[in-house]
């Protein structure tokens, strides 16, 4: 569920973490994500150059572009997953629900509960299906068994996996097929009820049938969540996204309504990329 009250909690210092109620930040625009002049460096490598991108709530945004052009870097910028790379540096503003996640004092763990992530290769934990989906709730310290049960089942139903796994929720998730594993991973993300879901080529390791199921799922999830997806599949981008952003060599070349980008691209490089003439 998405709620206006559930915003990222800025913290002023460690002590106040336990005493201050979540600040209610009301963002004037409906942009849930906004980056302003963002530059990212890995050591000497300039991975993102002056990226300005605003993403609306309850939309699907596809990030397209050739490999190594900053799509994944941009995606991981939004939940600070690049922090683990030692030489990584960010300049500019990354606003999520109006909070600058690199400059304001935020709790990274809280950020990641609001901004969930689904990875390229299905990566369920070597635990049961139930425990995989319950993981996010357990690490939040939720002990209420009924609540956990309800949320887990709800999440499994949302990803359309219920009929396939309802009789063996205790089975190891690694025993499922690749497509099912990826849906477990999506369910795991949904169970903590994030606002935004980042997807890094979620179907690139899957067969066409599993892929189309996940695409249908993304279209359904749009009702409740904001989805940002990296994809190398042009058809996929045109099928599922509202907005498409084209990255090339670390720059955001063009962004616009998906129908416009695919029928009438303004930039020549975008046109050449989507028609398959380079990349």
């Amino acid at each position: 569920m998405i709620s206006a009250e559930k915003e990222i909690l800025p913290i002023l210092n460690q002590q106040e973490l336990y005493t201050v109620e979540p600040t209610h930040l009301h963002v004037a625009s409906s942009d849930i994500v906004e980056t302003i002049d963002v530059n990212v460096f890995y050591g000497d490598f300039h991975a993102l150059k002056d990226v300005n991108l605003a993403i609306k709530k309850n939309s699907v945004t596809a990030l397209i572009g050739p490999s190594g052009c900053g799509k994944t870097t941009f995606l991981r910028l939004l939940n600070r997953m690049n922090d683990y790379i030692p030489s990584h540096m960010v300049r500019g503003k990354v606003l999520i629900n109006g909070v600058d996640i690199y400059r304001d004092k935020i709790e990274i763990e809280q950020l990641r509960k609001e901004v969930g992530m689904v990875f390229q290769k299905p990566n369920p934990f070597p635990k049961s299906i139930f425990e995989n989906v319950a993981y996010g709730l357990r690490i939040q310290g939720i002990k209420d068994k009924h609540l956990i049960h309800e949320r887990v089942i709800n999440a499994i139903q949302q990803v359309g996996l219920w009929n396939e796994v309802k009789d063996n929720l205790r089975k190891n998730a690694l025993a499922l097929s690749g497509g099912q594993q990826q849906r477990v991973c999506i369910a795991r993300t949904l169970a903590v009820e994030p606002d935004i879901i980042l997807m890094d080529e979620p179907t690139s390791a899957l067969d066409p049938i599993s892929t189309s199921r996940i695409e249908e799922l993304i279209l359904q999830l749009k009702q409740k969540y904001t989805i940002i997806i990296v994809t190398h599949n042009m058809q996929q981008a045109s099928r599922i996204s509202d907005t498409t952003a084209f990255f090339y060599l670390g720059e955001l070349i063009e962004v616009g309504k998906t129908t416009d980008i695919f029928t009438n691209p303004r930039n020549e490089r975008t046109e050449r990329y989507i028609t398959g003439r380079f990349g």
Binding site: N79, M81, Y84, P86, I108, E109, Q110, L111, R112, K113, G116, M117, F119, K121, N123, P124, F125, P126, K127, Y135, G136, R138, I139, Q140, C185, R188, T189, V192
Partner: protein, 301 residues
């Protein structure tokens, strides 16, 4: 062109002899193991002709050097298990903490720096550890625990635990690093802290490797001789009290080998009976660890 030149013939001969040399080297280790088993069996059979296996396994006293002879292995076995248990109780929490710290928290640079230092712990001659247990650790513990004997399994076990830390930490660290980092990312991506990721994802995923490391460490502790011979005493005693002198299987073998027991006597053969027990014990441990290792390699390949 197909006719061998002299140069090629010569090369073929060298290739052939090197191959046989390598084969011979690998056979040496097999022959040695085979030889040990044969000697243990022959002398063991001779021993068990005079002492029944049931007495050996059930008698609660081990006094082969006294006039009133008893040949129950249990006191030696209990001494071995007690010291090894204390050792692993020290080495498991410390070794696992080190492994988690090095694989999940520290930088690669620090990890590379600390590894050789840690492995130094296993490289210290065990006689130094034994001496250290006897003249430093025991007097210190005696201040804390009045009435503790000068020879005891606690002090020997603690020091042995320190010695086997690198066995646990090094292999556990390898097991943790072998877990695909996509699992680590998944956990961080869910908003887990480093500690939660380590405890709830990484350690369970590496559990079979960690178990292997613990079994190998136990196996090392069971076979360790010098520390227990010096610091744990030489009194076979069926007890779980860590404050009194005990004797381990290995310490007994040292005691008899160094003494003036006549070659071929029953007392002499007790060494082999004790040796067989030790051999079977460590063989079982190694087999368990081998089984785990295979299971765990299958999981990630």
């Amino acid at each position: 062109m197909l006719i061998l030149s002299d140069k090629m013939k010569k090369r073929k001969i060298i290739e052939f002899s090197i191959e046989k040399l390598l084969l011979a080297s690998s056979l040496i280790s097999i022959l040695t193991t085979g030889g040990i088993i044969i000697v243990l069996t022959i002398e063991g059979v001779a021993f068990f002709k005079e002492v029944s296996v049931i007495d050996f396994l059930t008698d609660t006293e081990w006094t082969p050097l006294f006039t009133q002879k008893h040949f129950g292995i249990l006191p030696l076995l209990s001494g071995t298990i007690l010291t090894s248990f204390i050792a692993i109780a020290v080495a498991l929490p410390i070794g696992l903490s080190i492994a988690v710290f090095l694989s999940e928290y520290s930088s690669v640079r620090f990890r590379e720096l600390i590894k050789p230092v840690l492995e130094l712990l296993a490289a210290v001659p065990t006689v130094i550890y034994g001496f250290f247990a006897l003249i430093v650790v025991t007097p210190f513990l005696q201040k804390l625990i009045p009435g503790m004997s000068s020879f005891n399994s606690l002090s020997a076990g603690l020091v042995m635990g320190i010695m086997i830390i690198p066995y646990v930490s090094s292999l556990s660290q390898d097991a943790l690093l072998a877990v695909p980092s996509s699992l680590r990312e998944a956990s961080y991506g869910m908003g887990a802290t480093r500690l939660q990721t380590s405890v709830k994802v990484m350690i369970p995923a590496a559990s079979s490797g960690i178990i292997v490391s613990v079994i190998l460490a136990i196996s090392r502790a069971v076979g360790e001789t010098m520390i227990v011979a010096i610091a744990a005493g030489q009194q076979p005693r069926l007890t779980l009290n860590p404050l009194v002198p005990v004797e381990t299987i290995t310490a007994y073998i040292v005691q008899v080998s160094l003494g003036d027991v006549p070659h071929g006597s029953l007392e002499y053969r007790t060494i082999f009976a004790a040796g067989i027990t030790l051999f079977v014990f460590t063989l079982i441990l190694n087999n368990i660890s081998y089984w785990f290792k295979r299971k765990y390699q299958e999981k990630y390949e």
